[in-house]
């Protein structure tokens, strides 16, 4: 039964990746747009491409990207490429491949989203536990409306407000960029690392504030449920200390369902960070995507989107696999 569940989940994962790959293949080809012609037109406009040899040039470009073959042949070679993690060339940055561009930017995104997820999870869970705890001061409930407003707002809109007040007005943080200008990139240098952290605080904060609501309100609801359980009444009757009741009885048991939230949160955080990176000029995948959209570099757009969808599907898969180990109340047998 255990193996059956894992296999079913794996098949589903492959299904998601296949759907994403097929969408990536079909959408641009169904669309009435021609990325190669668009690039050629751009070249003609900016660099004065001459009339003769124009058709040959377009033809050679089409051959280069394999666009002159029948659709099914393109699909087969596309899927074959996907199997080898080959996402093709970037049109505007030829001969740089999409993979190289992703490799340059992916760590910034992982760093930003990873840190934001960790902080939002930790702060939100503790905050939610305190909000749900019946011995907390009533005044804490005043935090709920702002938490709701933050969680309803898109992170890039919040980012603008943070940039204006904290970076422009108070000058506490830099306005954009991953590290200061004219600084030597040296990852073993503590000063450089501190500079990177200093630059990452605002983008991370705009992601954290937005996801804080989800974590804290979910945790609050779980705490209220747990507090009604019999073992809580019993532990209280035994005369256990409040701190022990809170940490080891209530918080510990309310914590586990929070982890399922991780799978959903990663997806929305990645989508949020796409925009936040553009607004902070942060060199992650989102910023690349923004630049690719601006220059209509279709292969780069679809490559990044495919990479992110696959990455999120994998992350969700691992969280799903991890969950039954953490919470014995959940069994594999129940299925998806």
């Amino acid at each position: 039964m255990r193996l059956g569940y894992v296999l079913r989940r794996l098949a589903f994962l492959l299904g998601v990746i296949w759907t994403a790959a097929t969408l990536n293949f079909l959408l641009p080809r169904l669309a009435p747009r021609d990325p190669v012609m668009q690039k050629v037109a751009q070249l003609a406009a900016t660099q004065g491409l001459r009339g003769e040899g124009f058709a040959e040039y377009v033809q050679s470009q089409k051959e280069l990207y394999g666009l002159d073959r029948p659709l099914w042949a393109q699909y087969v070679s596309y899927m074959w490429g996907i199997l080898h993690f080959d996402l093709g060339f970037s049109i505007t940055n030829y001969p740089t491949t999409v993979n190289q561009l992703i490799a340059q930017s992916v760590w910034w995104t992982i760093g930003l989203v990873g840190t934001a997820t960790a902080f939002a999870f930790a702060i939100g869970t503790v905050l939610g536990a305190l909000l749900g705890w019946n011995k907390s001061p009533r005044a804490m409930n005043a935090l709920i409306p702002p938490l709701m407003v933050f969680s309803a707002t898109p992170s890039f809109v919040l980012a603008l407000v943070l940039i204006y007040f904290l970076a422009f007005r108070a000058k506490l943080f830099p306005l954009s960029r991953p590290y200061s200008l004219f600084v030597i990139v040296d990852w073993s240098d503590v000063k450089f690392l501190l500079d990177v952290v200093h630059h990452a605080i605002l983008p991370a904060l705009s992601l954290i504030l937005v996801s804080l609501g989800q974590w804290s309100l979910g945790m609050r609801a779980m705490m209220v449920t747990v507090e009604g359980d019999d073992y809580m009444t019993f532990a209280e009757a035994k005369g256990l200390k409040g701190s022990r009741l809170f940490l080891q009885y209530a918080l510990r048991n309310a914590l586990l369902p929070q982890i399922t939230g991780l799978a959903v949160a990663i997806g929305s955080l990645v989508a949020g960070s796409t925009l936040v990176e553009v607004y902070f000029n942060y060199p992650g995948l989102g910023n690349r995507l923004g630049a690719a959209i601006a220059s209509f570099d279709y292969y780069l757009i679809s490559g990044i989107v495919f990479f992110l969808i696959t990455g999120i599907a994998l992350a969700t898969f691992f969280v799903d696999m991890l969950y039954p180990f953490l919470d014995p109340r959940i069994s594999y047998a129940r299925g998806t």
Binding site: M148, T153, V278
Partner: protein
Amino acid sequence: MRGFFRYVGRNPALGWGLGILALLLLFSYGGRILIDPADAYALATKPDLPPMLDREALAKIGEMTTFEDKLAQLRLGLRHIFGTDTQGKSLLASMVLGTGLTLQIGAIAGAIGIGIGTVLGFVSGYYAGTVFDNIVTSLVDVVLTMPGFLVLVLIASSLADPNQMTVLTMGLVVSVTAWAFPTRAIRSQVLSMRERPFVMMAKLSAMSGHEIILKELMPNLLPYLVMSLANSVYGGVMGSLGLQGLGIGDRRQPYLGMIIWWIQYYSAFLRGMWWWILEPVTVIVLLLTALILISFGLDEIANPRTRRTV
């Protein structure tokens, strides 16, 4: 009517949500009397003006004789009340028109999402276990695993010309991912309701499947459907804001997301143009908060037995 107000008194989330939404609708549709729509487009007036009331223009209202002239003079006096952006658009006019445009996108996406979600959810829930149900459920699972926003980016950037998107196209694009969540939610509601005695009763009285769905199940799930509609409109507005925030869409039109995109394009925060940042952000936050509050409030009607989280 009095019953409605009494109910809203006990359900503050719904009351606040509907109240804020009504204010925004008044701002957008009532505000159109006070603006000249042309002011929401580039080069309409002077660029980079901070908020100010044009007292001279207002003082001249008394000199005007006809009502039309007085109104035109009032519009002139008010056009800089929220300031202008770097392209010389009046922010008052932009936000009045933009709130309406963005809500229209949300409404289109919400209506399509709920329409498809209702049909698929009811049919697959009522006929659970059939081939149709299996197909729908797996499709929903796959779509929900993919981050919807990125799929929207992919679709929008393969359109013929993303920068020519009308409200309708934008609404249609955003609705591509809007149906999946309502389908799953409605299906699970139908699944639990299908076993209730009144459905058994209907079956025994030889009612057909679609009759039971339409006459027995749907009326009982109406509050739930309205709540899902509020959620879908929220999702549609979020999707359109995200796409426009990346510069996808018709950049000349004063959509709320486009106002945000231009802020970043012209680095308004580097130049201390607080009005250009804070005003549209306030409108967006109010709009989204109102939709979320309405959904919370309706949730209490739809699921009276669940413990409220807020």
